[in-house]
């Protein structure tokens, strides 16, 4: 019994995908002795992360109960680095095309795509651990648990990226989601955190149920849950009554759409982002999105490419709605974390645009986008976690006001990250948006490209507002926004030292204020102008290093091509 015969389409020979014995098909086989070859090399990233989680649990159970500053975060970061290195080794190993294979009983795909995402999630784990440590000790929440959850979450994410079937994808999805529910609710003393966790849990498990029902319907329509078997069935058969298949696909897309917070399945995101502990939000925004999209890309491109005319319109609608709703809603938020939540919704829209193209260019553009977005979002939330103060007392826009004075370096880094998310040239964000839009232009979908650009322009306002607020002097000014030019601005108590801050010019300060709050409602304006303390903001070492890495990568990936060529070669293994 072979999994596959022949080719899957131009440029994609399947012969090297079939496992050595070609005996294993799905979950069950014929009678007789059964030896399942487990290629540990292909699942090494999952094993590293999973075993690291278990080691942390054992250590926490056996070590005497006291505080170990930095131990748990250090071990987690180590596991993340090991995963990244392993991903790179896998990548090098896969440069020999003969190594690309369907492994572990046909459940895992070992190819450039999975290696790429192993690198991505390894980086996410390392950065996540680095920015969480100082936050957790500030909030007196430190312990091994959040790091165990983070490692488990990353393991699930890697599993999603390398799944070769809907059931494995579901398992990865659940490992990821369940860890994230708990991480969201982790702040024991903040009521918003528990409430957000509960909300995320209910809606998340609802969406998981929707997803798995979709998988069941696809199974019923095609006779398998394995991508290649579904593909083989659909190429070999003309489906006349495809109602069950269509419903299954719709439910699959809806279920994963929830996870990546695509409009109209986005309504949990702002509440959860607002309530969850800030560094976890950065990690979650990066990992959950990347994993969800990895699963969606695999399922749509490998299992259902023949039905492209059915799913492309649905993805089109999701993409357009996400870009526009995310951008517009980000404009009117007075809460920084909510603003970033809507911005992440709009960023998900761009990945969907790349996915919608359904081509190799779109595929690699989406992967590149996800990889670079990881660094932007983790860095941004790390800064927000620093400015909000102990107990997350200030999450509003005003909390970032005067950051240029309080810590010019931090403000500079944040500025780069915000500009990258807005898509300003010379940053990775620009390159990602450009790749995505050129992918759809390559398909001749100019209207979608136009919508993408309009959305980027709208979202840029939201990012620039935050950027401007950072350079409005932190000292309270009597000026109200919208006042005529020349009257606004009191004397700043501390002379601004930030690179962009005009020193001592009250007039310019007032103008900045007016500009930064343009278009906000009265309440939101008042909130945005509530100045925090003017004391210098100290940045813990690990967090500073993580932010520096994020900023450096964002610039590096924006001006040079290694990451780009990495993303480009993902598409080489598979094509439609």
């Amino acid at each position: 019994m072979t999994i596959f015969a022949g080719t899957a389409g131009p440029g994609c020979t399947i012969s090297n995908l079939v496992t050595s014995e070609a005996k294993v098909s799905g979950l069950c086989t014929a009678k007789g002795s059964l030896s399942i070859p487990v290629e540990y090399r292909s699942i090494a990233p999952v094993l590293i992360l999973g075993v690291a989680a278990l080691v942390l649990l054992v250590l926490s159970a056996t070590l005497p109960k006291r505080r170990y500053p930095g131990l748990w975060a250090g071990l987690t970061a180590l596991a993340g680095i090991a995963t990244t290195v392993d991903g790179i080794v896998q990548w090098a190993n896969l440069d020999n095309p003969a190594n690309t294979a369907l492994t572990v009983g046909g459940q895992v795909l070992y190819d450039h795509f999975s290696a790429f995402f192993a690198i991505l999630f390894g980086c996410a784990t390392t950065l996540g651990a680095a920015i969480s440590d100082s936050y957790l000790s500030r909030e007196a929440l430190d312990g091994p648990e959040p790091y165990v959850l983070m490692l488990a979450c990353s393991a699930g994410a890697v599993l999603m990226a390398e799944a070769a079937g809907l059931i494995t994808l579901f398992l990865g999805l659940e490992v990821l989601s369940i860890s994230l529910y708990t991480m969201t609710a982790y702040h024991r003393r903040r009521a918003a955190s528990g409430e957000a966790g509960l909300k995320y849990f209910i809606l998340g498990s609802f969406s998981s149920a929707v997803f798995i029902y979709g998988a069941a319907l696809v199974y019923g329509a095609t006779g398998s849950t394995q991508y290649f078997e579904i593909f083989q069935f659909l190429t070999g058969t003309v489906v006349v009554h495809d109602g069950v298949l269509l419903a299954g696909m719709a439910l699959l897309v809806a279920g994963l759409g929830f996870k990546v917070a695509a409009v109209p399945f986005h309504f949990w995101a702002p509440d959860v982002y607002q309530g969850a502990p800030t560094p976890f939000v950065g990690y979650m925004a990066a990992v959950a999105k990347a994993a969800g999209f990895a699963g969606l890309l695999r399922a749509l491109m490998l299992a259902l490419p023949t039905q492209v005319s059915s799913w492309r319109p649905a993805i089109w609608v999701l993409a357009v709605a996400s870009v526009l709703v995310g951008s517009v809603m980000a404009l009117v938020q007075a809460d920084l974390k909510r603003l970033l939540a809507y911005s992440s919704i709009s960023q998900a829209g761009y990945v969907l645009i790349g996915l919608q193209a359904g081509t190799q260019a779109g595929w690699s553009a989406a992967s590149f986008y996800l990889f670079t977005y990881l660094f932007m979002v983790v860095g941004t939330f790390a800064v927000v976690g620093l400015t909000q103060g102990r107990g997350e007392v200030r999450n509003d826009l005003g909390s970032i006001r005067g950051l240029g004075q309080r810590n010019p370096w931090l403000a500079g880094g944040m500025l780069v990250l915000l500009l990258a998310q807005a898509g300003v040239p010379l940053t990775s964000g620009f390159l990602g948006k450009w790749l995505v839009i050129s992918a759809v232009i390559g398909k001749g979908q100019y209207e979608l490209a136009l919508i993408g650009m309009v959305g980027a322009a709208i979202a840029a306002f939201a990012y620039l507002r935050v950027a401007l607020l950072m350079y409005v002097p932190a000292a309270p000014t009597p000026a109200r926004p919208g006042q005529p030019r020349g009257e606004g601005g009191g004397e700043p108590a501390v002379a601004p030292t930030g690179p962009g801050a005009p020193s001592g010019l009250a007039e310019v300060a007032g103008d900045l204020e007016a500009l930064a709050t343009a278009g906000l409602g009265a309440t939101a304006t008042a909130v945005a102008l509530r100045a925090p303390s003017t004391a210098r903001l100290r940045v813990p070492r690990a967090t500073a290093a993580a932010i520096a890495v994020c900023v450096a990568f964002t610039v590096f990936a924006g001006v040079s091509t290694p990451v780009l060529s990495l993303a480009h070669s993902i598409g080489l293994t598979w094509s439609l």
Binding site: Y181, F201, S205, A209, I212, S224
Partner: protein, 101 residues
């Protein structure tokens, strides 16, 4: 007399629909958990029915995973409720129904 397969599918769809409606409509968190369980059991029934109709064991094996995941999900959900409770004074789950999930 045997019940034809599609009937099971319809029953499963009904279970899933009732569960889904319950999650969206009900305000008691425990009832919402139960509704999620109902949805997942609808999925299980669908898997088993298709497995029988297609004469393929893969669907039945999938049910194992769905079952385990469902249990893990509920445990985490209860854990979150307990965590919320530690912050409040009160002893039963009736009191969190005001959160409007």
């Amino acid at each position: 007399m045997t019940v034809p397969g599609p009937w099971y599918l319809v029953l499963a769809a009904c279970l899933f629909g009732i569960g889904g409606a319950g999650v969206l409509v009900r305000r008691n968190i425990l009832v919402m958990y139960m509704c999620i369980e109902l949805m997942l059991n609808g999925v299980n029934l669908t898997f088993v029915t298709f497995s029988r109709m297609l004469d393929d064991l893969g669907g039945q094996a999938s049910v194992f995973f769905v079952l385990v995941v469902a249990a893990a999900e509920v445990v985490v959900g209860l854990g979150i409720i307990v965590a919320i409770y530690r912050r409040r004074t009160g002893a039963t789950a009736d009191d969190v129904s005001s959160l409007k999930g």
